[in-house]
Symmetry: C2
Subunit: 196 residues, 2 copies
């Protein structure tokens, strides 16, 4: 990202702000005027630095996904028990998405909001989902080898179940104002993974 | 719904059309002009018959939820094996949400899209989610009694897991263009429910 002397703003800060608007409202509902206001920049700066609304969105989504996926990968591949790492991650998701005012997952929110006929964006979204699925699969395979997870179920299928489950948790956390739904979900997921 | 002689439209048809717009785009992104165009009515007719945009949305959501929940209840409470009924329902969800152009679940899409600070709407959404959770819980309890589902896991927690999983399936079906993610999810869910 080139910073010319005429720019009075930090592109990374502005991008983080744009991410927050898309996260809270979704792509379509995020108006250009709210984006500009929250980013604290003018229309020309936006177009010069980020391109149009769609390319700004894709940059904001990349910023979100890279940060989130890297964080998940670090947690899941940490030393110690693979199931322990996964349990910790699910409990953190549960706590995070149970917070009042939780916006869910930026990727999931925008999957719901985006015009699904836009194949270029759908392809980017699928790519991020696959990365999460792959991470879950790697962790579940390690947990099966360690004898921590029921090894009669295909780890790839279990990873897909976890992907859908965690996306559902993030989504429902937007309206659920108590812990019970997400807590019960995590408890059941852990029980069935262990096979008891 | 009162039909005055001045009305040139069928309110139920118009409501179904409004539902389709909210379903595809979500509440915030559904513009009044698109709603009016798709419903084939003028602004005055809309306000006279359905009230403002929010009350139109709540009526459309009620129409969707009542139809969908009644259909699910009929399927899940049909004669025969409770797990068989649940399996059939999950396979139908899988097929439906794997279709190209799938819009997902109208309730889930709008949970992602709606301003979650609107507690009145959030409360309505929670009510529908609870109804689905209760249906799953009743079916899973019957399946446990019949020895079809692993009875070491709390059926209420399993119902919550299924609620999050099916909402995740509906969401991801919007961008997934192959069957594998949803198919793997259903296969894993059925395996772990049976406890094998």
């Amino acid at each position: 990202m080139t910073r010319g002397p005429q720019k009075q703003f930090d592109p990374e800060v502005a991008l983080t702000k744009a991410m927050e608007v898309f996260w809270a409202h979704g792509y379509e509902a995020a108006s250009l005027s709210e984006l500009l206001k929250t980013m604290g920049i003018g229309k020309k700066s936006l177009y010069d630095t980020f391109g149009n609304k769609q390319s700004l969105f894709l940059k904001a989504l990349e910023h979100y996904a890279q940060t989130t996926i890297r964080d998940m990968r670090d947690r899941l591949s940490a030393d110690g028990s693979p199931l322990g790492n996964l349990t910790q991650l699910l409990l953190e998701f549960q706590e995070m998405h149970s917070q009042p005012g939780s916006c869910g997952c930026m990727l999931g929110t925008n999957i719901a909001d985006f015009n699904t006929e836009d194949e270029a964006v759908a392809k980017v979204m699928r790519g991020y989902l696959r990365q999460v699925e792959d991470m879950f699969c790697t962790t579940l395979t390690r947990a099966q080898v360690a004898g921590e997870v029921n090894s009669t179920v295909n780890p790839r299928d279990l990873a897909r179940l976890l992907l859908c489950t965690t996306q559902g948790m993030a989504l429902l956390g937007r309206v659920m104002n108590d812990d019970t739904t997400l807590e019960g979900t995590v408890q059941a997921a852990l029980c069935v993974l262990k096979g008891n």
